[in-house]
Amino acid sequence: MPGQVTLFILAGTAMLGSVLMISRSKALHSTCFFALTLLATTGIFLQLHAPLLLAAQFVAIACVLLGIILFAVDIARLDLALAAEYSWIPNAAAVIVALSLLVQIGLTILQRRQLPGESLTELLPRASLPWPLSLGELTKFFFDNDLLPLGLLVCVLLVGITGIGVLFQKRT
C-alpha cells in the first residue's frame, strides 16, 4: 500500500529528525534536524489533504523563521546554555514524564480493548461538508468565520518581527 509506506517513511524521518535534534550538541545542527522534522511533517499534512497547512508550515516555519534562527545561531553566535553544572533533577523529571505518558497511552489502549463496540471514529457524527475541500473553499470558509483571530495572530507576528529587529539594532 503506497500511502502506508509513504506515511511510514515520513513518520520515520520526523522521529529520526526529532531524536537527532535533541541529541546534537551544537544548536546549528539541531536547527537543521528541526527543519528536517518540519519538512517531514509537511509531507504528512499533504498526505492528509491539507495543502493550505502545507503552504503555511513550509513558508512560515521552514523558510522564514528557520532563516532567522540560522542567522541568530550562526551569524550572531546566539548559542546559549542555561547552566554549566550537572543536575540530576531534569533527567529524573524527563524519565517520570516519559513513564507517565507511556502509562497513559497504555491505559488508553487497554480501555479501548475492553470496549470493543466503541471505536474512535464513532464518537462524533460526520459533518456535511464535502471532503476533500479545495484550497478556494477552505480559504473562503477560513476568512468568513475566523477573520478576527487571524488578524490578532498576524498582529502578534508583526510585534514579534518588530521586536527582533529592534533587539538586533540595539545589539549592533
Binding site: 522521529m15 535533541i22 504528512i44 497547512l53 516555519i61 546559549l80 542555561l82 477552505l138 470558509f141
Partner: protein, 96 residues
C-alpha cells in the same frame, strides 16, 4: 484513508521526544525547538481528526497553531537574545 491511530502514535512519539528534549537539554534554542515540536505534534492530531471526521475545524485550529508557533519562535528568540546580552556581561558565564 490510513487508520487514525497511526497518526496518533506518531504524534505521541513526537510529543514524548519533545518533552524529554525540553527537560534534559539546557540549550535555550533547542528548548525552543522542543516547544515547537510539541505544537507540531498537536497539529498532527488536529489534522488526523479533521480527516477522520471530515471536519474543517481541525485545519483551522492547525493554521492558528502554526501562526502562534511563528510568533512564539520570534518572541522566544528575542528573549534569548536579551538573556544572551545580559549573560555576556556577567563574569564567569557566557555562551556555550
Amino acid at each position: 484513508m490510513l487508520p487514525t491511530p497511526y497518526y496518533l502514535f506518531l504524534s505521541f512519539a513526537l510529543l514524548l521526544i519533545a518533552v524529554i528534549g525540553a527537560l534534559i537539554r539546557r540549550n535555550l534554542i533547542i528548548r525552543l525547538f522542543c516547544v515547537e515540536l510539541i505544537l507540531n505534534a498537536a497539529n498532527i492530531n488536529f489534522m488526523a481528526f479533521a480527516r477522520t471526521f471530515s471536519d474543517v475545524a481541525g485545519q483551522l485550529f492547525a493554521i492558528f497553531i502554526i501562526i502562534t508557533m511563528a510568533a512564539e519562535m520570534l518572541v522566544g528568540l528575542a528573549i534569548i537574545a536579551a538573556v544572551f546580552r545580559r549573560w555576556q556581561n556577567a563574569p564567569g558565564r557566557g555562551a556555550v
